[in-house]
């Protein structure tokens, strides 16, 4: 009982403090129009956001106002984007670790790709791909993958290089081939580096999918919902969609953690 209190009390205090600050801010900001009771408050109070979120979630899933529906649209392009990023990231990492020339030639481009602001390029990508007949999920998934592959490459390169000299020497005394070195040592050793990278990558895939929905006049998805809400000044809708997006990120990170948990169990309790 005391243990439970000790654990939950800090969380409760922080949440209460945040809610307090939020309420205070809402009252101050919205005071000129009469606080806490408007349809379009500048800064909605927590319970207004919660109600808007709840009504969005409780809509029938085929309704255009259903947040579940929009979240599912975003989640599917994020998931496809993440899968692409995973394949691309791991492939690049293996190439970089094995071919010294690629390490020098590829890495600068990979880093450069991340300095280009996705928000600026996303509309171009969507328009260009639309011209060659690629619409719908694919352009969004590509933008999600673009943001998402970077942490996978960097964590995987570090992980594949993590084995120590002595562990490599050991395989040499077995006269093991390079496939064995990869499969028995480098790959399993990289896992504890890959998962933190995948967590970052998964959230970036969600961000990428939303960003791709923003400027393109997409009909569906949390990004489209955000854009419409901000265009029409529907702050409640805007905040509800924002909270929904972070809930989606929580779910996505949970999936990665779940996969990690399975591997930890297979490995007897440690990664």
């Amino acid at each position: 009982m005391r243990e439970a209190v000790r654990r939950t009390l800090p969380v409760i205090v922080v949440v209460a403090a945040l809610l307090g600050v939020w309420y205070a801010a809402a009252i101050i900001v919205d005071a000129p129009q009469g606080a806490l009771a408007q349809l379009r408050p500048l800064l909605p109070a927590p319970q207004q956001v919660a109600l808007a979120l709840l009504s969005g979630i409780l809509q029938p899933p085929n309704s255009p106002r259903s947040l579940i529906y929009h979240a599912a649209v975003t989640a599917s392009s994020a998931a496809v984007g993440f899968a692409l990023a995973f394949a691309l990231g791991i492939g690049l990492a293996i190439a970089i670790v094995n071919v010294r020339a690629l390490d020098r030639s590829l890495m600068p481009w990979i880093i450069a790709s991340q300095t280009v602001p996705a928000l600026a390029v996303a509309p171009m990508v969507v328009v260009v791909l639309g011209n060659i007949g690629l619409t719908g999920l694919i352009p969004k998934a590509l933008i999600a993958a673009w943001l998402s592959f970077f942490p996978i490459v960097t964590s995987m390169v570090t992980g594949l290089r993590s084995p120590e000299r002595i562990q490599l020497d050991l395989l040499r005394t077995y006269s093991a081939g390079s496939w064995d070195v990869f499969a028995q040592l480098r790959w399993p050793a990289s896992m504890s580096f890959l998962f933190p990278g995948m967590k970052v990558a998964a959230t970036l895939a969600v961000v990428g999918a939303i960003v791709a929905e923003l400027p393109t006049g997409a009909q569906a998805g949390l990004g489209a919902r955000l854009l419409a809400a901000s265009y029409y000044g529907q702050t409640l809708q805007l905040w509800a969609a924002l909270v929904m997006a972070s809930l989606l990120a929580v779910v996505v990170v949970g999936v990665v953690d779940g996969a990690r948990g399975v591997l930890v169990r297979v490995r007897g309790g440690r990664l």
Binding site: E164, I166, Q167, D169, L170, L171, R172, T173, Y174, S175, A176, D180, Q184, L185, P188, A189, M191, R267, G268, G269, R270, L271
Partner: protein
């Protein structure tokens, strides 16, 4: 020197013959087992699968892998922790696992590079007795590098004293204490005599003084 025998490094000069082969051939034929300074176990494999690693790389059939692994774990007295993971074992046990792993090739030569250097003295004594028993049962040629004079005298049939920088052979000492070696043998005059000769050689004195 051990790394040269194992073909992990090239000697600067001279020729090296490992049981009638070049070091590279010996490595390719998996003629030796190597025990490193640290256990170098793979943390994602349990004890049993660590010992199995070289056998998997050799491509042995599953049944034989199991059989050999069980036998070698028994040899080092670790059958009951086969399913544990390396981080659940003490340092001494980890090093015993790595010895079992080196034995699983059934090599004709065992190379040991200060294998007990990082362990406390009590553990080290226990492992010395253990290794000596192992050597008596298998009769395997063993090259053992150590910085400890008692360890060298206790374990060896022949001690090669090498000077530090430049590494030159200073003395070769036969160590005929017999096959039966309880730990108490270290208190006998014969043991002390050999020990002092090793110490003498190490400090650059002329041998046979």
């Amino acid at each position: 020197m051990l790394r040269a025998i194992a073909d992990l490094e090239r000697p600067t000069g001279g020729t090296l013959v490992v049981n009638g082969m070049t070091p590279e051939l010996a490595r390719r034929q998996r003629a030796y087992g190597y025990v490193f300074q640290a256990p170098a176990l793979y943390p994602w494999r349990n004890v049993e699968r660590n010992v199995m690693l070289p056998l998997e790389i050799m491509g042995l059939p599953r049944a034989e892998r199991r059989e050999r692994t069980q036998r070698n774990l028994q040899l080092v007295g670790l059958s009951d922790v086969a399913r544990r993971f390396p981080w659940q074992l003490s340092g001494g046990m980890q090093q015993r696992v790595s010895i079992a792993r080196a034995l699983s090739f059934e090599p004709s030569l065992l190379l040991m590079d200060e294998p007990f250097g990082a362990l406390d003295e009590i553990t080290r004594d226990g492992l010395n007795v253990h290794l000596h028993e192992l050597w008596r049962t298998t009769g395997m040629t063993t090259v053992f590098v150590t910085h400890s004079i008692p360890e060298a005298v206790y374990l060896s049939t022949r001690i090669v004293v090498i000077s530090p920088r430049p590494g030159r052979i200073v003395d070769v000492i036969d160590c005929d204490l017999g096959a039966e070696r309880p730990l108490e043998i270290r208190d006998t005059p014969a043991f002390a005599a050999i020990g002092s000769r090793v110490r003498h050689a190490l400090h650059g004195g002329t041998p046979h003084a």
